[in-house]
Symmetry: C2
Subunit: 221 residues, 2 copies
């Protein structure tokens, strides 16, 4: 039924310990494997039922250990959520080096269109962000701060790219980078939402690509 974000790289080459209080470089191979396993299952469950709709017991069951055993690795439900979000953030910013190297505006927007196309193949992940971000609008939600920071980062990344493009003369001088940045992500998220609800009738990747092309036509020098 759902897109299985299967086989996260277990990163067997890097013996980097999960940052713990313990300074020693000991480490259990099976422990790390379990942790990644749990994280992936938790991700799917959070995506499917939201934070509040997900139970630790169910995650534990699917990971083939007891709920108490799960809480040995993640001391609370909230800690587990944060771990999932961190994991995704790290993987995404790796995969999409957006923000790291400030591409020219046009290239950055094109990259986003590519991302939308890629996202067609991983509805489960798209749903994770859509569901959690919606929930996190609530001020007391454990992921509220995360959602705020995430959008701030995304916007500032594209804003920087647009400003670079403007400086290099690639883009018009009279554009408003922060405004465009907010609009671009708004379009992306909104289309994702409609796509998740009705994949047959809403082709988000194409619609987003279409938006970006018209946008570029407008802001290009």
């Amino acid at each position: 039924m759902d897109a299985q974000p299967k086989d996260l790289p277990t990163n067997p080459s890097t013996p980097t310990r999960t940052a713990r209080a313990r300074p020693r470089g000991r480490g259990y191979a099976s422990g790390d494997a379990r942790r990644t396993r749990i994280l992936n299952i938790a991700l799917q469950e959070f995506a499917e039922n939201g934070y509040r709709g997900t139970s630790l017991a169910r995650i534990a069951e699917r990971a083939e250990l007891t709920q108490a055993g799960l809480l040995h690795h993640f001391r609370s439900k909230q800690e587990l959520l944060v771990a999932v979000l961190d994991l995704r953030d790290r993987m995404d910013t790796e995969h999409l080096d957006l923000g790291v190297l400030p591409l020219g505006g046009a290239a950055a927007l094109d990259k986003l269109a590519e991302l939308a196309e890629h996202n067609r193949n991983i509805p489960g992940l798209v749903q994770l962000f859509t569901v959690l971000t919606g929930e996190a609008v609530t001020t007391d939600h454990p992921a509220h701060g995360w959602a705020q920071d995430r959008y701030a980062m995304l916007r500032s990344g594209i804003t920087a790219s647009l400003e670079a493009g403007r400086a290099s003369g690639e883009l018009r001088a009279d554009i408003d980078p922060p405004a465009v940045a907010a609009q671009v992500f708004a379009m992306m998220d909104g289309l994702q939402l409609q796509w998740l609800l009705d994949p047959e009738h809403v082709d988000m990747a194409t619609l987003f690509r279409d938006y970006v092309e018209h946008l570029l036509r407008r802001i290009r020098a």
Copy 2:
């Protein structure tokens, strides 16, 4: 803290009974008042905590009756949610006659920009839709069908307007009404989300108006 959608019109002129099994036109005035009271409180709670995060007990407490008393008016939590959504749908389609009278494309889009400006004053309601729609992406959510239908309706409304505008020669002949419709609501929702998370930095009304203006410049004949 939150926008209070105060004093729904009790509709005292219309003696129309809430459709019940009972055909008799008896009715308790206090009963209807209670019901609207409950609906408004439930709306706020659902907006604040989502469906899964809201408890009947809390709603009941705020409405000054017991949880069992609440369930006398709405036989289940799900029934209460549906009632809230129905209420909002009715009120919105009244206030914004969008879809009823197919305005020319430009006028319809302008009306939407006005709606975005109006929404600035009712963050609580905006949050209701944002939170619930996010939750409802999940297939087994009680509001899943509602969300699907809602977007289908919204899109088809604007699509019709755009087609009318195209037919009358107001808009270009080569536009793609369903695509534009999806994009317009995507932009609106996406901006609402960012605005709810960070009202200081994202001015959704202005950003949406800006989008609509550029869009019109592009699709106008």
